[in-house]
Amino acid sequence: MITFEEGEQIVKIVRRHYLVIIPMAISLVLAALAPLLFYFFITSGFIPFGANLIQIIENLFIKWKVFGYSVWLLLLWVVFFIEWTDYYLDLWLITDKRIIDVEQKGFFHREITSFRYEQIQDITVETKGFIETFFKFGTLQIQTAGHGRDIIIRDAHYPEEARSLILRLSEKSKATINQ
């Protein structure tokens, strides 16, 4: 659970772009179509299977298609949401006091790192290729003092906006400290 300081306000939540889950969604759609393709492939006579084998498969499909297909779709549905959760819970919380990096790695592994604006040394935005440029997402990297590693969010949606916001909040925070 993320614990906020007293009076801390969330200014923006940065998530990965939805396009990053499209390949996974496409592969699940293909997996959903696989039993039908298998059935048509077997019964089309493209590969000469024995008539008995084709008959057995046809009988199985006729009697158990609704059950088998709904169970198969249910499994794929759950797998989709497990993957979607992995995507959705990977986020940055930009608050008025600090940045909280929440990294979901699988079902039971999470890493939560937070750092204050005073620790920020540099922010880099990298947008590579046509797709990232067209759909406005890219890699946002923050170098910080006191952390062993850089804080990186890949495929962040609108990284330039997030960068400007962080810089603005960072300057505001530094100005407050100097007063």
Partner: protein, 74 residues
């Protein structure tokens, strides 16, 4: 009722009983995954309309698929 070949020599399983077992296992897996998913969403999801919508869609479709599978074998 159809029976698959008795490979063990002692017990016979009907296709229906195998289907019952498969449905039970898949429904159990779905239930466990659902509990964990909802736990994650409530604890770390930060709320919001899209998450509430996703929860609703997930639950409705899952229940419909389990009911369809159950009705198909009964």
């Amino acid at each position: 009722m159809e029976y698959i070949p008795n490979i063990l020599g002692k017990i016979s399983f009907s296709i229906k009983s195998i289907a019952d077992l498969v449905l039970f296992l898949v429904a159990t897996f779905t239930a466990i995954a659902t509990i964990i998913l909802f736990f994650h969403w409530k604890k770390y999801g930060m709320g919001g309309v899209s998450l509430a919508f996703a929860e609703l869609i997930y639950l409705v479709v899952s229940v419909v698929l389990i009911v369809v599978a159950f009705l198909a074998i009964n």
